[in-house]
């Protein structure tokens, strides 16, 4: 769990490749050949660089990425926990093991306003189901004395894969803002 914490050194070619694939592979018979065409590279090269990224822990998972909401998992609760520092790893792993959980991250507390140091994402078809699953997790992982709260999402403004862009693009935000002010 402690492995791969450093940022990997990447060439500009690697960055271009990451940029080309982070939105997903084209749905065609030879997707890597198509990506290679755009990058002025070869299909073999693209595949071997992706293999390199995978071997070096830059890729966590490779495959079909589904949207939970479109599959009926319309409620997602970000469950945040205030866990003693010496227990957070053990309990973070315990919570992360449940099927309905898709994230389990330790993050810093920001006292006094934000005391929570473990973030987990729990999915369900509605709020009641999420709340019930959280209650089960509390019981099974022995979290009865741990302060937690559930933050339900009420609106999704944006959801897409991470974009590791290099350049500074504040002009876009400025343009939007100007539009809104008018």
């Amino acid at each position: 769990m402690q492995l791969n914490k450093q940022v990997l050194h990447l060439s500009s070619k690697d960055r271009a490749l990451i940029k080309a694939v982070q939105g997903g592979l084209p749905v065609v018979s030879r997707p890597y050949a198509e990506i290679a065409k755009k990058l002025n590279s070869s299909e073999t090269d693209v595949i071997s660089r992706l293999q390199y990224l995978m071997d070096n822990g830059a890729i966590k998972r490779y495959g079909v990425v589904v949207r939970h909401k479109e599959l009926g998992y319309t409620a997602n609760g970000m469950v945040v926990w205030n866990i003693p520092d010496d227990k957070v790893e053990e309990l973070g792993i315990c919570i992360g093991n449940y099927d309905c959980v898709t994230l389990s991250y330790r993050r810093p507390r920001r006292l006094p306003g934000w005391p929570y140091n473990l973030f987990t994402m729990v999915h369900g078809s509605n709020r009641e189901e999420v709340t019930q699953k959280v209650a089960e997790i509390v019981e099974k992982c022995g979290l009865e004395n741990i302060d937690h709260t559930i933050l339900f999402s009420t609106r999704r403004f944006k959801q897409r894969g991470a974009s590791y862009t290099q350049k500074n693009t504040s002009s876009t935000a400025k343009a939007v803002k100007l539009q809104l002010v008018k």
Binding site: S29, V66, S153, R156
Partner: protein
């Protein structure tokens, strides 16, 4: 045949896994991880499922068009090819929509959700370096005219094996090849 023009992905579509054809269910469930890095990934899926590559391509295309599948490909590990943080803002209700649009307009922002809490806007910011991240966070605060709380990930306790879709089909991605 699917009609891509009249079927844009939108937030109103919500279905249960059982609404999908058996092929679609398999495409949703069976390839969430460990997809091969072969030159012909869709032909490989077709072979495994005993169907034509053309069927896989068509179904995958339509699953993406109606928004059920976000994409096929790599999920990058946080903080390995770039840096990221989870940011939260406490925005007055009447300004929330406007602020959310400003935040979403940054290409460095991927997920952006309203949540029912005093901190009501939560988003992930990703950048190629710490310096770039700091600049973006600063710019978001400036443009949105709101202060933000940045909560970078310190440890990841979750092994991402995909998302289990309960259906008439058997198999739980999370339990299956746990050691694989």
């Amino acid at each position: 045949m699917t009609d891509s023009v009249n079927n844009p992905a939108n937030d109103s579509i919500s279905s249960s896994i059982n609404d999908f054809s058996p092929l679609e269910q398999h495409l949703l469930n069976d390839f969430q991880r460990d997809m091969s890095l072969s030159a012909t990934p869709y032909a490989d899926m077709a072979k495994q499922l005993g169907v034509n590559e053309e069927d896989v391509l068509q179904s995958m295309q339509s699953l993406q068009e109606n928004g059920v599948v976000s994409r096929v490909g790599p999920v990058f590990r946080p903080n390995r090819i770039g840096v990221s943080t989870l940011a939260a803002m406490s925005v007055p209700a009447d300004k929330l929509e406007c602020v959310a649009r400003i935040v979403s307009a940054f290409p460095e922002v991927n997920h952006n959700y309203e949540r029912d809490h005093l901190y009501n806007l939560w988003f992930v910011v990703t950048a190629s370096s710490e310096e770039h991240l700091d600049i973006v966070l600063y710019e978001i605060e400036q443009h949105a005219e709101q202060t933000l709380m940045s909560l970078p990930m310190l440890d990841d306790y979750f092994i991402d094996l995909g998302f289990k879709l309960t259906s008439s089909l058997t198999g739980s991605p999370k339990q299956a090849n746990h050691n694989g």
